[in-house]
Symmetry: C2
Subunit: 237 residues, 2 copies
């Protein structure tokens, strides 16, 4: 990438840095086997993720006070366990399953690419996850963040402007010194409207057979890369 | 250390992890030489640090609204440059000097000890510095924090309970699952009153010839170590 470079790069996390779907399906399937609880874990994971945006919208619309994503996940999980008629899970099991979002694996290029980027830039997640979720995930997956920008630091979920602008303010940077990196065009559009730089890389396998969008860049983002390793190469590190 | 272990360990930073006095004296002396500005930089650094607690007390007492440490430092610096009669510094120079607090070197055992501790525990600074200060310092000194607990996350300076309890809340831990580590008995006393575990190691050279206290532990802290490497050894990592 010729020209202007950012000082900090913040990453969307679920889907962009970590493969939530494959990780959760494997994690829950193994747990179900251990516990002797049978269920269509793949369908549960897909339904759980489908509840993600509607659950955050309840906070955005003021139907709920500020609620951490861990707690939104738990509410959705309880509903889905009932809907799916899954039997035999006690409270400890539900706590463990809910923390499955803390045990997500990175895509193969993520840790290598982020390690390269960290040598020159401040890097962190800017995610709808809460700090504790993102921190446990980083420890689990070996992701070398400099700082964790959880949504609880801002009391807002993306794409609310308070998140993108909150990072810049916290880092004492102008918005155009911060780059948002994501596999989701919508996230980048919101970041660009706040004045941030933008980087896109596709994750065509994020939703498995249910992927519907984000196969390619839909705007002229500052960087369009194949993955985070390629993004590091384009940024010259 | 036999028995209970923490999940997260948070560190006082100025004096405990980094050697602010030697670092700043060397940094400012070199800068003064480059710029042809003569001053008693050692005396300036000592006076600057002496202004630290009184400046935070203005916030605690409500004389000032919440103010980041970078901005308190700048107010104190401007006053001291006038008092010391230092001539020839323009605005860019003052900005650069003020960011000297972002360019502090770690004590020799700090990075090695923290790297060992990071393998088992969540580690972060719990400091009166703001996030951007602590993050730039970590990049400069190679400190491998998992998360940066700057005072601006809580809108409070230590020893206000909101800081110690705020870390536990943000990590979704009980206070007794968090250990405060510091070279300052007062900081540990405040943390213990909030229910945190405690670790002490002395930094007898922190204030150079002006050191007056904290040569040794004044309570039976959960860990009393010689430095952060020894602390890691006592925690079995």
């Amino acid at each position: 990438m010729a020209g202007k470079q950012p000082v900090a790069i913040v990453f969307d996390t679920f889907g962009s840095v970590v493969d939530w779907r494959s990780s959760l399906i494997a994690d829950l399937t193994a747990y179900g086997t251990t516990k002797g609880v049978s269920a269509d874990w793949t369908a549960l994971v897909d339904a759980w993720r489908a509840a993600y945006h509607p659950s955050m919208d309840r906070v955005r619309k003021g139907e709920l006070p500020w609620t951490r994503l861990d707690d939104l996940h738990r509410t959705s999980l309880d509903q889905l366990v009932a809907e799916f008629g899954i039997k035999g899970l006690n409270e400890d099991d539900l706590v463990h399953i809910n923390l499955g979002w803390h045990r997500l694996h990175a895509w193969p290029d993520s840790v290598l690419g982020l390690t390269r980027l960290k040598s020159r830039f401040i890097i962190g997640p800017l995610s709808n996850g809460n700090v504790s979720l993102l921190l446990n995930m980083a420890k689990f997956a070996g992701i070398p963040w400099d700082m964790i920008f959880g949504s609880d630091l801002f009391g807002h979920f993306k794409p609310d402007p308070e998140t993108y602008l909150g990072v810049a303010k916290m880092l004492n940077l102008r918005p155009d010194q911060v780059m948002m990196a994501a596999a989701h065009n919508g996230d980048l559009g919101a970041a660009r409207r706040c004045g941030l730089m933008t980087a896109f890389f596709p994750r065509p396998g994020e939703y498995g057979p249910h992927q519907k969008r984000d196969y390619e860049a839909d705007q002229d983002w500052d960087i369009v890369a194949t993955d985070i390793q390629d993004m590091a190469t384009q940024l010259g590190v």
